[in-house]
């Protein structure tokens, strides 16, 4: 921009570090909805993390499949029991743990793949970039859910680890495009030219200059990605091809009560509610993060 930049002195007294990250976090926390979302999400995460300590019963225990099955919510079982007489509250709590874990791990896989792919394509440019992008276009044209269903139906009885990997392998396409776009723009930033002028190697530029400036879109994608995976996993488990029984995930619980949705309403309501809450808070935070980083750039 031609013209004069403002020339104000920074305050001379020592202050807390004003890293762009700290600033970003502070800015987000200013919004009321973000604070509420963070609070609610925090509780859910805490519940999941402390599952073994909080859950009133063993989530897989089937104490009395005759007398205690299909009980509506009561004091002893606040979320009721399922057809196998398992306590739904405990299952929902363990479900939180599992679903969140799957969401986070799968997203980590996606992040790694997406960032690597996008950064290499963007930085290399030219023919390699063009080729990689065409491959990506092809991959993007396949609907994720159908792809997952196709794969998981062909391989039933998958371990959770394999599930996480498949979820991760199918979730990086969009992010890599965003990353590539950012890298393309950053490649020509003057501070990158400055680093080249200092003699920085391509590796150094990628790792020390480009990647740190990609944090914002990555964090946004990660937050929204976790939400997306949670919904996917729930859907797959509901279809019976996700998390294998008897492990508790939100989708599983809904699936257990699927035959008698109307009578066993607590089996759909509670896990469903938790899921909606989790996904909503993640989305609110993700959007807030995106707004904050878009406003800055």
């Amino acid at each position: 921009m031609l013209g004069q930049t403002q020339d104000f002195a920074p305050t001379s007294s020592p202050r807390p570090r004003e890293s762009p990250l700290a600033l970003g976090v502070r800015r987000i926390l200013r919004g009321r909805s973000s604070r509420i979302a963070l609070f609610v999400l925090g509780i859910i995460v805490l519940v999941g993390a402390l599952a073994p300590l909080i859950a009133p019963y063993n989530p897989s225990a089937q104490p009395d499949i005759v007398a205690l099955k299909d009980l509506p919510p009561s004091l002893a079982h606040p979320f009721g029991t399922d057809p196998y007489s398992r306590d739904v509250l405990s299952r929902v709590i363990y479900g939180a743990r599992l679903s969140l874990m799957i969401g986070i791990l799968a997203t980590l896989v996606s992040l790694t793949l997406g960032v690597a792919y996008g950064a290499i394509a963007g930085y290399a440019g030219g023919l390699l970039d063009a080729f990689m992008m065409r491959v990506l276009d092809a991959l993007l044209s396949i609907p994720r859910l159908l792809l997952l269903i196709g794969v998981l139906v062909a391989w039933p009885r998958l371990s959770i680890g394999a599930l996480v990997l498949f979820l991760g392998f199918t979730g990086w396409f969009g992010l890599s495009r965003i990353v590539r776009g950012q890298v393309l723009a950053l490649k020509h930033a003057e501070f990158v030219t400055a680093a080249r002028a200092l003699g920085a190697s391509r590796r150094r530029i990628l790792l020390r200059h480009l990647l740190p400036n990609l944090v914002s879109p990555i964090v946004v994608a990660a937050t929204l990605g976790v939400a997306h995976v949670i919904v996917l996993e729930a859907g797959l488990s509901y279809l019976g091809i996700g998390v294998p029984q008897p492990q508790a995930s939100w989708g599983n619980i809904i699936q257990d009560g699927a035959d008698q949705v109307a009578t066993l309403w607590w089996m759909s309501l509670f896990p469903g509610l938790l899921m909606v809450l989790t996904v909503m808070t993640l989305n609110v935070l993700g959007e807030a993060l995106r707004d904050s980083y878009e406003r800055r750039s």
């Binding site: 031609l2 013209g3 020339d7 002195a9």
Partner: protein
């Protein structure tokens, strides 16, 4: 003495931001006469652009013009005017030329359309008539083949041409006042010369007043008859252009003039105004230039200086007006150039 065309009294424009209230324009009063060219000079952050935008009520939230400000123009107070009435004035009686012609023009309409639109909106002209007048104005601003050029889009024109388009737009309704906010800063120096020449020529022809806002003292010297120097949201000096350059009173004006390299004047080191402008959210008490001034003394910290009369039609916001002998005893400014031992 005829009544001034535009009369600003006590203009306060503030921005309510997360980091506090920035009093960008903090009590500015001045007049512009008919046919006059008045210049406002100052560096970034002094409030000159905000002043210009305030005149046409172009300040958006979180900024606002504070109550008590008055801008009198053709018998009306622009500050309290209704939305429709102020729109009536913009582009019609008072128009504005901006610094960056590319962002001031809409990229999806031809330049002819954009210039013609002014006449269609304000004079209710028909498409045909407005187009004809637009081409006429474009030719008047020195654009060759105006008819062909009018059919082009902004990105097809050079920076200098775009600025001419903006000038044509500004003059379509022969306004009484044209506000030019750094109209040549983004242009090459040879084009700048053309544009300034054009502005002055057109002014003579049409008789509009011009408020020229710039940071370039050279542009001020060449185009204006009266100069206002702004610093930290206030007017710190005002005088006729000859008087200002011959006898600058305020130490900031002085410092500014001496820190510019002049062609033909050999200087070993440029004179420097050490330190930086204070933040607008926190104007210091007393004189705002005190820390950077080589003449300041304790009065400057205690009392915010008013505008003293220091010559014919020459005012200066500096206590040196009442103790002029202090000018003979300059000292090291209170703020030392960052980290460097006093040179």
């Amino acid at each position: 003495m005829t009544a001034p065309l535009l009369s600003i009294r006590d203009l306060h424009t503030s921005f309510y931001t997360e980091s506090g209230v920035a009093r960008a324009v903090d009590g500015v009063s001045f007049d512009i006469g008919a046919g006059e060219t008045v210049g406002i000079v100052g560096e970034s952050g002094c409030g000159k652009s905000v002043t210009a935008l305030s005149i046409l009520r172009l300040i958006q939230p979180p900024g606002r013009i504070e109550a008590g400000s008055r801008i009198e123009f053709e018998g009306k107070d622009l500050v309290t005017l209704g939305d429709e009435e102020i729109r009536d004035i913009r582009g019609n009686r008072i128009s504005m030329i901006f610094q960056e012609p590319m962002s001031a023009l809409n990229p999806v309409f031809t330049v002819g359309d954009q210039v013609a639109e002014v006449a269609r909106v304000h004079a209710g002209m028909s498409r045909k008539d407005a187009w004809a007048r637009a081409v006429e104005m474009l030719a008047l601003t020195g654009i060759p083949d105006a008819d062909t050029r009018a059919r082009q889009y902004p990105h097809q024109l050079s920076g200098g041409m775009r600025q001419r388009v903006l000038i044509a737009m500004a003059l379509m309704m022969t306004p009484a006042l044209v506000i030019a906010d750094e109209p040549t800063t983004a242009l090459d120096v040879t084009i700048q010369a053309q544009i300034l020449d054009l502005l002055l020529g057109l002014q003579k022809k049409i008789g509009t007043s011009i408020l020229m806002i710039t940071h370039d003292l050279g542009v001020i010297a060449e185009t204006t008859s009266r100069v206002i120097v702004m610093y930290a949201g206030e007017i710190v000096e005002q005088a006729d252009v000859d008087e200002l350059f011959a006898k600058p009173h305020h130490p900031y004006t002085e410092g500014l003039m001496h820190s510019m390299p002049h062609i033909g004047h050999d200087q070993e080191r440029l004179n420097v105004i050490p330190g930086t402008v204070p933040a607008p959210t926190d104007w210091p008490k007393g004189c705002r230039f005190r820390d950077r001034c080589p003449y300041s003394w304790d009065l400057c910290e205690q009392e915010h200086p008013p505008l003293y009369q220091v010559g014919v039609d020459h005012v200066s916001r500096c206590h040196l007006a009442i103790e002029p002998e202090r000018r003979n005893h300059p000292h090291a400014p209170l703020v030392v150039e960052e980290g460097v031992a006093a040179a």
